[in-house]
Symmetry: C2
Subunit: 214 residues, 2 copies
Amino acid sequence: MGDLPLAIEGEGRQRILAAAEKLFSDKAFDAVSMNAIALQAGISKANIYHYFPNKDALYLAVLRAASHNLRTLLNDVVNAHGAVVEVLRHFARCHLQALLDRPELVRLVWREILEKGAPRAQEFAEQGFADVFSALVAVLEAGQSRGELRVDFDPALVATLLLGANVFFFQSRDILRHYPPITFADDPAGYDAGIVEILLRGLIPESSIDTAST
Amino acid sequence: MGDLPLAIEGEGRQRILAAAEKLFSDKAFDAVSMNAIALQAGISKANIYHYFPNKDALYLAVLRAASHNLRTLLNDVVNAHGAVVEVLRHFARCHLQALLDRPELVRLVWREILEKGAPRAQEFAEQGFADVFSALVAVLEAGQSRGELRVDFDPALVATLLLGANVFFFQSRDILRHYPPITFADDPAGYDAGIVEILLRGLIPESSIDTAST
DNA sequence: TCAGATATTGACCGATTGGTCGAGCGCTGT
DNA sequence: ACAGCGCTCGACCAATCGGTCAATATCTGA
């Protein structure tokens, strides 16, 4: 058995995974045939079954790898320090940039989440979500305890709002580009800058107004 | 030819469309077989081809109907008057409620938007988006010109933020429910109330602070 | 050099796919 | 009663699906 040939042995696997990832990110599970994957990978269909027992296992492996990559990719975003306000700005910008840098991974994982009929690995696909979410909540809570942010709002709600804004931007970018009044479709940094600015004006304690609540 | 049998004539069509809508909203295009649609509709597969020339045409018809229904459903939301702040609150709440009331339609249209590989009717699916978006932008602009809202923000950006928050909530509701810190997963009204509140505190001109910008 | 894994392949399998066809069904006007 | 017509169906088609298998090519260690 090889001690380090693992790196070379995995070359065939990796090629298949890459091809499958590309195809699965564009089209749904049933819309991607094993033949198409083999063709994309430049190998024979039967060869795929040497590395993976069946289509589901291959899809799961692709999803696992994508989720892992996306997870580490997003985890790097969280590493920031300084004033909470600056951390938020950095977080929003890097998070959206991470999504835009690896659109295949995001689409892959997100499609799995949206699929209601066949929950192949939903709880698995949710992992990447959990990390970045809890990290963002932690940042907000730290800001609250430090007095840099108001305390009368739900951190989880704001985290959802910010993450949702980025995910929504990522998803509907092509649509947004068609609308005349939208100028930020191709300026993700500007988009996030504007969004964070709007959020902060409502989150910073100095702005103590007494608007009627619900 | 029938003069009013049109209502009865469409019964077969309608049954097929309903069955197809249900299945297409849960699973992707290729994951839904004509046989399954026929089974769901309680008719024979061959009968479908009496009403629709092929699967694509049926899918297109389903998408057309869904988009139309969703469009009118969302258009009712816009009809509000009074202070811009109140209109926004009402808009957010009703918009999210509309999404949650007809999850099949939303999932159907949104899946078509996300599909990159086979743009069957993307520009068609975008229609429902255009209306509600421009309506929301109009509301915000009106608020700006009336002096009820700040003028130093992009209405289109805020509209994207608000719509994105609702769509994101709709999409990832099941995920959000799994996280302990989240208490609003089953309280869409509370969610929107909180979000609008956060947004308003930053949009209302009275809160004129001078935070350093980008 | 040669045995034994490991990779890789084309040919093949049963099942299912989207789609067709012709024969009946039931209704309506005459 | 009968002709016509919209409607419905089972049977069938070629193509493709996921998956198997035996044969071969390639590589490795001794």
